[in-house]
């Protein structure tokens, strides 16, 4: 974008430092309604985010009309003047980064025929369980480009591609859902359709579960929703120092089973958030959060790091071009003691209704488990009726019996299934 240099030039006379984030994206998608395609869709997105800095004050603004960059810069400068000054030691200087794309499939182009093919394959997969019918589904392809540039001459660009598909099925009042998401066109849409229809068909007509203490096997989906609600926010440096994390002050202490490790691995090729640089141009690196059960560190962006005397961990992320970057994770990996998690009898928790209602500070939750079923000998044995599960996310980390060898990508996480003991269910 030609305006980037113009914005940085205009800003440098009015602030000590400035940063521009510019993103564009072309996407295509289609949606199923029951057995037919109802919508074909395309998107042309763009956005410009500006941040300016002076004397420890920061201001930000954004627009998706690059032609209005001057008004956007004025708004960022006005915001800067209002913000309270905080310790600030500067935006990053440019360094040489590896040029190899980490999240790009050059063969993936947003083509309508590809999207239609993904939907058709999911439908074929779902047909393998004819007791279930498809209610809705979608498939999408996108190619996006981001630029981060600042007044120190830093200018990084990255192109990434994305493919995804998802489908919902129902049998009676038993519902099933499955999805797949990747940077490459290596999805298995037939498997996605088959899984959704399987869970819908298998879940029909379950018996109530006796209330009491059970072993549970949490699917990666169930685990991800609890981690997103509680564990991830507790590892964000800003929450830690602001008194909003139960893990504050516990670096070096054991916070999980000694066989569990959790780390961010941004350079894993085709990892969900794979990137060489973060949203404010800091080079990314592996970040150990929990190693062998011991809390090793938290995630920081520049602002939080400068304020609390830490170093940026390259963890700045943007949900879009708007606002300011926040602290997040790129490709979060959970590793633990691999075992046959479904060998001994347990209640398998496929997904959770209401994980976002968990208490993000204390970690306490009380949720509804969806598609629960009994598992044993590595197989799904019998469905059970829905149940309430009350517990605590931090305590879960210490109740681990084992993790599955197989992992899958859910959001920015790469997760196994997790077997935990001593969990309280109300049937």
């Amino acid at each position: 974008m030609d305006e980037i240099d113009a914005i940085l030039r205009a800003a440098s006379g009015r602030a000590e430092e400035a940063e521009v984030f510019f993103s564009t994206s072309e996407s295509i998608g289609a949606e199923l309604s029951r057995d037919r395609v109802r919508v074909g869709q395309a998107g042309h997105a763009m956005g410009l985010g500006i941040r300016v800095f002076a004397q420890g004050r920061v201001g930000a603004s954004s627009t998706n009309d690059p032609g209005r960059w001057e008004a956007c810069l004025d708004a960022a400068l006005a915001a800067m003047r209002l913000a309270d000054p905080q310790p600030w030691e500067g935006l990053p200087m440019p360094v040489a980064l590896p040029g190899t794309p980490l999240a790009l499939d050059p063969s993936l182009s947003p083509a309508p025929a590809t999207v239609a093919g993904l939907l058709a394959s999911m439908q074929e997969g779902a047909a393998s369980h004819p007791e279930a019918v498809v209610t809705a589904g979608s498939a999408g392809l996108s190619r996006s480009h981001v630029v981060v540039a600042n007044t120190h001459g830093l200018r990084y660009e990255e192109t990434e591609t994305h493919a995804s598909c998802s489908i919902e099925a129902i049998a009676g009042t038993s519902t099933g859902y499955e999805f797949a998401s990747s940077h490459a066109l290596d999805l298995d849409p037939r498997w996605v359709g088959e899984q959704a229809a399987f869970f819908a068909a298998f879940g029909a007509g379950g018996e109530p579960l006796p209330s009491g203490t059970h072993d549970l096997v949490l699917s990666p989906l169930a685990l991800a929703s609890l981690f997103e609600a509680v564990l991830l926010p507790a590892l964000v440096g800003r929450n830690v120092h602001a008194g909003r994390s139960r893990l504050a002050g516990r670096i070096g202490e054991r916070v999980a089973d000694a066989r569990l490790s959790l780390f961010d691995d941004p350079h894993r090729p085709m990892g969900p958030g794979a990137t060489w640089f973060d949203a404010e141009g800091v080079p990314t690196r592996r970040l150990d959060l929990i190693r062998d059960g011991v809390l090793e560190g938290f995630a920081y962006d520049l602002r939080t790091a400068y304020r609390y005397g830490a170093a940026s961990t390259g963890s700045a992320v943007r949900g879009g071009y708007g606002g300011a970057p926040s602290i997040g994770f790129h490709t979060l990996v959970l590793e633990g003691p691999v075992s046959e998690v479904m060998a001994k009898p347990a209640v398998y928790v496929r997904s959770i209704v209401g994980a976002h209602t968990a208490n993000p500070i204390s970690g306490d939750f009380s949720v509804e488990v969806s598609n629960p079923c009994m598992v044993e000998g590595g197989a799904f044995v019998a469905p059970v009726r829905t149940a309430m599960w009350g517990g605590n996310v931090f305590d879960l980390l210490d109740a681990i019996e084992g993790v599955s060898a197989e992992t899958r990508v859910v959001g920015e996480m790469v997760l196994p299934a997790l077997r935990v003991s001593g969990q309280h269910l109300v049937g």
Binding site: Q41, S61, D65, A78, A79, I170, V353, S370, M388, N392
Partner: protein, 438 residues
């Protein structure tokens, strides 16, 4: 062949102020401009979403959308529906007459009110959004209106004896300025956080519960509202499908969605140009009507269009707006007396529903044990779940003290402002979840 097209172009400004532990982290204004062009081809929809829309490009986007409609095989029809644009309520106190500095000062006062003994973190966030909506369609319907929403939330985190708890309050309005009167919300967040330090974890089980108006509003939204959305019914993904005219709850129970009311879910006209109207989903205990867009009305019937809502640049979906339980003739005191032993549940931390299975879950901010008809000890982390088709029969008493609360509802990746409300309700045989043990 283009059978129909429409354009919805939304442009405006957002202002956000974030004060964290007394530090003004940000106070900024941003700009947005997004449009969605929908075309009905020979069978289904072709849709183009575009940032930074320019009217000169409309014909090109219509052609692009028509090509995309070629992917579809679902025959989509649109029901006729009345067109009308309601006047936008005139603000008694317009946020735009205040400078950003003044708003920051007011928010700082609210955040300061949340501080106190045992409180180790406070945070307050103000958000304001003004948008101009322009609509045009191949049927010659054209309108434009401007609407603003503003409000804040405030949080206090308290700590004592290794226990960490939070209190959270929020207040939002359409074309109003709740920031001016927000200090009591800061105080309330502090009081809740500190009081919860001494609360016990709730024990799960089946029991009688009394829901306060905020939580009972979320209950109406989660337990009934979503399952009445015409798109879910059309997909076969709602337990309410085919049940119009069936009794679902006690006589006297009426549940309404009404986007024409000037609550937080207000729309002067819906996202496809249709007049917004009151829809009684449940009338006197009987399923009465579904919520529809023109498309789902044609496909499913039994209800009213005018419930299409969409985020800027996104395809409109069937959405709730202002959803509430109408007043009954009981009172909170009667609900508590009749409850005898159970829990009084207060406030909402959100909820979720699987309308196909007919199962919902939502979480209270806190509660009080009810013993002998009197509220007693405080409990935390308590949730409620149930099945749509059974739960409404368990409503034993409906009080006459309805209040509305503001929130946001997510569906299909889109978040829209909603109002939920109800009077106090007494529910028999409720499934309460909590992490407490004997």
């Amino acid at each position: 062949m283009v059978r129909y097209w429409d354009l919805r172009h939304v442009a405006g400004e957002t202002t956000t102020i974030d004060i964290d532990n007394g530090v003004i982290e940000s106070a900024s204004t941003s700009f947005f401009d997004r449009a969605v062009i929908r075309v009905l081809g020979p069978s289904g929809w072709g849709v183009v979403s575009v940032d930074n829309y320019r009217a000169l490009d409309l014909d090109r986007f219509i052609a692009e959308a028509l090509a995309l409609a070629g992917l579809t095989g679902e025959p989509v029809e649109l029901a006729d529906a009345p067109h009308r644009v309601l006047p936008v309520p005139v603000p008694s106190d317009d946020p735009r007459q205040y400078e950003l500095e003044e708003k920051t000062r007011l928010l700082a006062g609210i955040e300061a009110a949340a501080r106190g003994e045992s409180v180790r973190n406070t945070r307050a966030v103000y958000s304001e959004r003004y948008e101009t909506v322009r609509f045009a369609s191949s049927e010659g319907v054209e309108y434009a209106y401007e609407l603003g929403r503003s409000g804040f939330n405030v949080m206090a985190v308290a700590e004592g004896d290794g226990v960490v708890q939070m209190g959270y309050e929020r207040l939002h309005a359409v074309n109003g300025f709740p920031l001016r009167t927000g200090v009591p919300c800061g105080e309330k967040a502090r009081e809740t956080a500190v009081a919860l330090l001494g609360a016990k974890a709730a024990k799960g089980g089946r029991m009688r519960v009394v829901l306060d108006p905020e939580l009972a509003g979320v209950f109406a939204h989660e337990a009934v509202g979503h399952a009445a959305e015409g798109d879910l019914v059309r997909e076969g993904n709602s337990v309410l499908a085919g049940r119009i005219g069936e009794r679902i709850g006690v006589a006297g129970l009426t549940i309404v969605d009404d986007p024409s009311l000037p609550g937080f879910g207000f729309d002067p006209v819906d996202a496809e140009g249709v007049a917004t109207v009151r829809t009684e989903v449940v009338r006197d205990g009987v399923i009465n009507a579904l919520l529809h867009t023109r498309e789902t009305l044609a496909a499913v019937g039994n209800g009213l269009a005018g419930h299409a809502r969409g985020m800027p640049g996104e395809v409109p979906l069937v959405r709730m707006s202002n959803t509430f339980v109408e007043n009954g003739d009981s009172s909170l005191d009667e609900c508590l007396a009749e409850c005898r032993d159970g829990i009084l549940l207060i406030g909402s931390r959100g909820g979720q529903v699987d309308p196909g299975r007919g199962v919902f879950q939502f979480n209270a901010e806190y509660g009080y044990l009810v013993e002998g008809g009197e509220p007693g000890g405080m409990v935390r982390d308590v949730s409620l779940s149930g099945e749509i088709l059974g739960t409404l029969h368990e409503i034993a008493l409906i009080a006459d003290d309805r209040r509305m609360h503001q929130g946001y509802c997510g569906k299909g990746g889109q978040s829209v402002p909603v109002g939920d409300g109800a009077p106090h309700l007494l529910l028999e045989n409720a499934v309460v979840g909590g992490s407490g043990r004997d």
